[in-house]
């Protein structure tokens, strides 16, 4: 069974892909690796060729706020996953599902109010 599942119509596409990848690499290697000039001077080693050299460490501590906002985002964002299937079949399943979704939103709202009152959304 395994192996027979690549349909034969896709074979030309595969060959085309392989040829283009090989050609691309070959051209790159020939043009820059063999034909190209290699002359090193200090300007070549700056991160931006005609920009201002960077000052200080690139790694610095982020405010812990970012993590808290990200965590809250993840939680409230994921809950939307339940709204989509509900919205799609809403006209078919009627009042019962509507009440359930209202309860669900109310529970989320309690969490939202809690975070709000705890100043979880304040930026500084």
């Amino acid at each position: 069974m395994p192996g027979t599942y690549i349909p034969s119509e896709y074979l030309p596409v595969l060959i085309f892909l392989m040829v283009s990848v090989t050609l691309g690499f070959a051209l790159l290697l020939i043009s820059s690796g063999i034909l190209g000039l290699k002359r090193a001077y200090s300007e070549k080693f700056t991160p931006y060729e005609s920009g201002v050299p960077p000052v200080g460490e690139p790694r610095y501590r982020f405010s812990v706020r970012f993590y808290i906002i990200a965590m809250l985002f993840v939680i409230f964002d994921i809950e939307a996953v339940y709204l989509y299937p509900w919205a799609i079949v809403f006209d078919k399943i009627g009042l019962y599902a509507f009440i359930e979704m209202v309860i669900f939103i109310v529970i989320l709202l309690v969490g939202f109010i809690y975070v709000w009152k705890k100043e979880g959304f304040k930026w500084d």
Binding site: K92, I93, G94, Y96, Y114, K118
Partner: protein, 475 residues
Amino acid sequence: MNLQFPDLTPVMPELFMTALALILLCTELLVKKKGILAALSILGVVVVAYTLIGSSGTTFGGMFVSDGYSTFFKVIFFVNAILSVLISIKYIAIERVNFGEYYSLILISTLGMMIMASAADLIVLYLGLELMALSTYVLAGFIRYDIKSNEAALKYFLLGAFSSAFLLYGISMIYGLTGTTDIKSIALYISEKGLTENPALSLSMILFAVAFGFKIAAVPFHMWAPDAYEGAPTSITAFMSVGPKAAGFAVLGRVFMIAFASIKLEWVAVFIPLSILSMAVGNIVAIAQTNIKRMLAYSSIAHAGYALLGIIAANNEGLASMMSYLMIYAFMNIGAFAVVIMLRSEDFKGDSISDYEGLSRAHPLLAALMLIFMFSLTGIPPTAGFMAKLYVFMSAINAGYTWLVVVAVVFAVISAYFYLRIIMYMYMREPKVEVSLSTSPSLGLALGVTTVAVLAIGVFPLYLVELARAAISGF
């Protein structure tokens, strides 16, 4: 298609519990005195316990069942929640983490346990498990400024999440095999199609055993327990050494007795080594401990081994003895932790075993209470712990595992060494440090309730056992 409104009577306790937890969360924003929240949560749990009466039935298309079995376990969870709140009130103030979220998290965790005990479908089971586990992780790390508490939460979280992934893989295997997640339908499908020999069935059974081995802290899945129990706030150690363990046993009983009934011989063969190892490692390593919370953690591992004997017996009598064991364990373990909490004051940790030296001179009443709890944990009559062990051993003997009971008795004798060592320290050594107790009415109430329960069940055990048997009869 218009969905019918489901019958809500069986889920009334859970609905009330949810409402209670949410109300507490909102009240916390308005109320400055946290004692009110504790009182409200205890009152609320009592109301929820009242709604248990007449809540039997099946609802949500058979996904949720409320029967005698689940009701008995819910009573254990309520006892656990109420006693844990009682012992916390003063303690979390001493630890400077007197936040209101504490109580709602305890209630949400209890809600998760209730859902686990009532789950008749693996999806509901998973959701209950995660609800319980996620709130317990937070509770374990509740002392935010203490690195030990952070570490406890981290270890508990990492291994808990790891084990629930195993559970999910087991669920997906059994779903692929039988095409359903309903526990009763799984059993029906397996026996109809003759899938008993299927390796996927054995694999998913083993994955379930691993996942719940983690939850009940059975060896070799116990490595998180000592660190998590030592680092967590003491009141939460008491809470999570009883609640999640009992919930894990509730699920073990239901899933293995019903869904995996056809491969009973295989899972009994898996649980026998788990039980022996738990008793051996728990009891022997506990001897070497110098921290009392850590010692009680190993003791809790050993008690999981004893309670597993009821599962190994694999009949209604075994389950009933396991249920009464867990109920008794709730009282005696929380009682012992209440004593540990009493020793904790602002500038004194009081969790080292040497702090108990000569306790009987300064505080004879407290030493006497600790004596009762230690006797009970060892299993010395006339305390409840003896009755708990007796019934579990009886059920295992009746099921034909006499050799296993002999092994268990040997380890129970070994356990006497480290339990009685505390008593020896309290009564036969001279006090080294001046221990001042941090008493409070609620802590006194909790100690009173647990002592009376341990002694009363020890003297009149039949009432509890009959209750467990009646609860299991409709299983």
